[in-house]
């Protein structure tokens, strides 16, 4: 039920049968490792049938509780409500709503204009402007695919027209769009905070420096390639033009002040900031830029509710799953095992990255975090890893996962905009993807990149 509908390369029935049998056998092998094994074999098996992740999580829990434990199953029904009965989680629908008002409300195109006026005359021209516009939009939106849509659907056609090869534009925007979850606000960070009881405010603060670094890095790759292949540049904008572009985009840029300024000046809690940003984005879209009419409002509300409900449904079922694991003391057993086998911080973080990257092949970030964080987090804590640093490295890892196949939401989105195939896109994003993997390792093993700013501001 996801966006990928690659119909080429179907297996023959014989080959398919071999695959299916092999998978079933390996699941049985996993299941032989006690209760933890059974839980994971069940989960993986259900997920591979293609059913919604939320349903696979829920069914795993039900099956296990029903057949293998004495916990009353009514608990499950209660958890489905109480699992999201937490004010911090409510930042998610609010940020989604704000993002939709921004996307529909003409904020993105004014940001693109501003970015183009600032850096369009350098090597890379519109591509560089794209990175900057993504970074700016990321600072008001909490989602990566939304950033790709908002910036890409306007800028990509413009780039092709301006004489850039399609794959250059697609590569730049798909990867830069992933800044959406690293530069605050970030829905993925809210989900991590919820899954691990960390502070949303501290995570947001910790994302700023890595976000700016990654934006610079992606921009540099674009600049280098543009110079090498001699891609077109824009005429240099005059001071007056820049000022004008800035003035036009100021309403969107002000949202950065409202969200981050609001949180760090103590005006709002993160959830309240999200609600305020939704109201503000609505105001800008309808009354200031007037790119949205009153008639369009219910549709935006409905679409936001649809997306939020999907995420909240995964969250509730993931809460169930983590309840099952706690109740079976699985994370504790794994933590003890790792410590007994002298897993150091370096090895553990390497394993974490590999595991997350593997999961990134088949799932989108919220599900990955919700399923893996409750397992990995206790171990990380025992090893003395900072929870905020751990959150940032997971976020960066998720960014990588969104930009590579088979499952990579940013790629799907870019493919929808450019009508390029996923394989073609994969080649297109490669230069930036390699840079991102390098950056991920840097963030993983240099905690100070994430922790310096929050520490400076007294958050840790």
């Amino acid at each position: 039920m996801s966006a990928s509908t690659a119909t080429q390369g179907l297996m023959t029935p014989k080959k398919a049968a071999i695959w299916v049998v092999a998978i079933i056998l390996s699941l049985f092998a996993i299941a032989s490792f006690g209760n933890a094994g059974i839980v994971f074999a069940l989960l993986i098996g259900l997920m591979l049938t293609g059913m919604p992740i939320s349903i696979s999580l829920g069914l795993t829990v039900l099956t296990f509780l029903f057949f293998m434990s004495q916990v009353p199953v009514e608990t499950v029904a209660m958890k489905l409500f109480t699992g999201i009965e937490k004010f911090e989680i409510m930042a998610i629908p609010f940020f989604i709503l704000a993002g939709n008002f921004l996307t529909h409300g003409g904020v993105a195109k004014r940001m693109i204009n501003f970015a183009t006026a600032m850096v369009g005359h350098w090597h890379g021209g519109l591509g560089l402007a794209g990175v900057m516009a993504c970074a700016l939009f990321a600072a008001v939106s909490g989602s990566s695919p939304a950033t790709v849509v908002a910036i890409g659907s306007i800028l990509l056609p413009a780039m092709v027209k301006a004489g850039f090869p399609k794959n250059f534009g697609a590569g730049v925007i798909s990867t830069s769009g992933s800044l959406g979850i690293l530069i605050p606000p970030s829905i993925v960070m809210v989900i991590y905070a919820v899954a691990t009881n960390s502070s949303v405010g501290a995570l947001f603060m910790a994302g700023i420096i890595p976000g700016l670094m990654l934006a610079t890095l992606l921009g540099s790759v674009a600049w280098y390639r543009a110079r090498k292949f001699n891609y077109p540049r824009m005429p240099k904008a005059t001071m007056k033009e820049r000022l004008k572009a800035f003035k036009e985009s100021i309403w969107g840029l002000l949202l950065i002040v409202i969200v981050l300024g609001g949180i760090y000046s103590g005006m709002f809690t993160p959830t309240e900031a999200a609600a305020m940003s939704a109201v503000y984005a609505f105001f800008v879209a309808v009354f200031v830029y007037k790119d949205m009419t009153f008639k369009g409002i219910p549709k935006v509300l409905l679409d936001s509710a649809n997306m939020s409900a999907m995420l909240l449904y995964i969250i509730t079922n993931a809460v169930l799953f983590s309840y099952l694991m706690t109740s079976e003391q699985i994370p504790q057993i794994m933590a003890d095992w790792m410590i007994a086998h002298n897993f150091g911080v370096i090895a553990f973080l390497a394993v974490t990255n590999v595991l997350l990257l593997l999961a990134g092949n088949v799932m989108e970030p919220s599900s990955i975090i919700l399923i893996l964080a409750p397992i990995l987090f206790p171990v990380a804590m025992k090893l003395g890893i900072d929870p905020i640093h751990f959150g940032i490295l997971i976020t960066v890892n998720m960014e990588v996962g969104m930009c590579h196949p088979p499952v990579g939401l940013n790629l799907y989105v870019a493919s929808g905009i450019t009508k390029m195939g996923i394989t073609e896109l994969t080649v297109a994003v490669l230069p930036w993807l390699i840079a991102m993997v390098g950056f991920m390792l840097l963030v993983t093993y240099v905690p100070e990149i994430s922790l310096w700013l929050p520490r400076l501001m007294g958050y840790l």
């Binding site: 009353p72 109480t82 103590g266 809690t269």
Partner: protein, 309 residues
């Protein structure tokens, strides 16, 4: 197979409640010679604040130690008497209630909800903190004060013109640091372990309210236990309670010493006259909530402690 008691709570292992839960586990397993296994789940791992009561009623967990403020939503508003400001002047007054007939009578009411109350565990008396000195009651006016969700605490803050704000415990440090709220009330041990004194300039030793827990078990489960095991568990609980209260007291004293030593916030002590003025101002809360809580029970507590505004 041993009888398993899942004991779930929402705080860390090293807090007084966490330590007491682990101490109970040790005693119970020793005294039943392993016929009972107590699994302690700290940090809301198993159930959160909002769901643990229902979980206990359903039997998904066998033992809890929720804060007394959590009993009103269960339909037992009588327990809000513990939230009333200045109702106990010190531990000796408090223990007259929690270890006397009034406390027992209150616990008895839990049976109408399918629960049994085994004991009261202290956390301690609360201090007020803010970024401005809170010396007189009038200093509270217009301040945004974090409270835990409770009608009485809400009304207590309003009685002195403050704006109560319910916030999750995990968000309090940040909210204080950034100024989402101006101040809060806490027993010293919470204040200190959450490092709130680092982001609050003044701490007033108001000791204005009490924070405590009651240890609960599921009635059906408890009554179904063999009598000898129940007796062993009761004796373990008795000793764990003594331990819990002494740890709480010690932790609070050490926490205040820690706050003082850190020099990060200034400690304000109230003269008896000043404290009396606070008490008088907050007496409004008693009047407002008398009907809610039940005049009988409030009067019984007054009689036990000799409360006079």
């Amino acid at each position: 197979a041993p009888i398993i008691i899942k004991f779930s709570h929402v705080v860390a292992n090293d807090t007084p409640k966490g330590q007491a839960a682990n101490y109970f586990k040790k005693l119970a397993e020793e005294r039943t010679k392993g016929r009972v296994k107590v699994e302690v789940y700290p940090n809301s791992q198993l159930f959160k604040d909002k769901e643990e009561m229902e979980a206990l009623q359903m039997g998904s967990v066998q033992m809890l130690a929720p804060s007394l403020a959590k009993f009103a939503p269960l339909g037992l508003k009588e327990f809000e008497v513990f939230d009333l400001p200045f109702i106990f002047d010190d531990y000796s007054e408090l223990h007259k209630v929690t270890q006397g007939p009034v406390g027992a009578k209150l616990l008895k009411k839990l049976e109408t909800k399918g629960l049994i109350g085994l004991a009261y565990w202290d956390n301690g008396f609360k201090v007020m903190s803010a970024n401005k000195p809170l010396k007189n009651v009038t200093d509270m006016r217009g301040l945004k004060m974090r409270i835990q969700s409770s009608k009485v605490l809400d009304s207590q803050m309003r009685s002195v013109g403050a704006i109560p704000q319910v916030l999750a415990f995990s968000e309090v440090y940040q909210a204080l640091q950034t100024g989402v709220v101006d101040g809060t009330e806490n027993p010293p041990s919470n204040l200190y372990t959450q490092k709130m004194h680092e982001v609050q300039k003044y701490v007033t030793m108001s000791n204005h309210g009490y924070l405590g827990y009651a240890v609960l078990v599921n009635k059906k489960f408890w009554m179904g236990l063999p009598a000898d095991i129940r007796a062993a568990l009761e004796s373990s609980m008795k000793d764990a309670t003594v331990f819990a209260n002494s740890v709480a007291k010690k932790d609070n004293d050490e926490a205040m010493a820690g706050v003082k030593k850190s020099g990060k916030s200034q400690i304000i002590t109230l003269t008896p006259a000043e404290r009396a003025a606070w008490k008088k101002a907050m007496d409004k809360t008693h009047k407002e909530n008398m009907g809610r809580i039940g005049a009988d029970i409030v009067k019984e507590v007054y009689a036990a402690t000799g409360y006079k505004p």
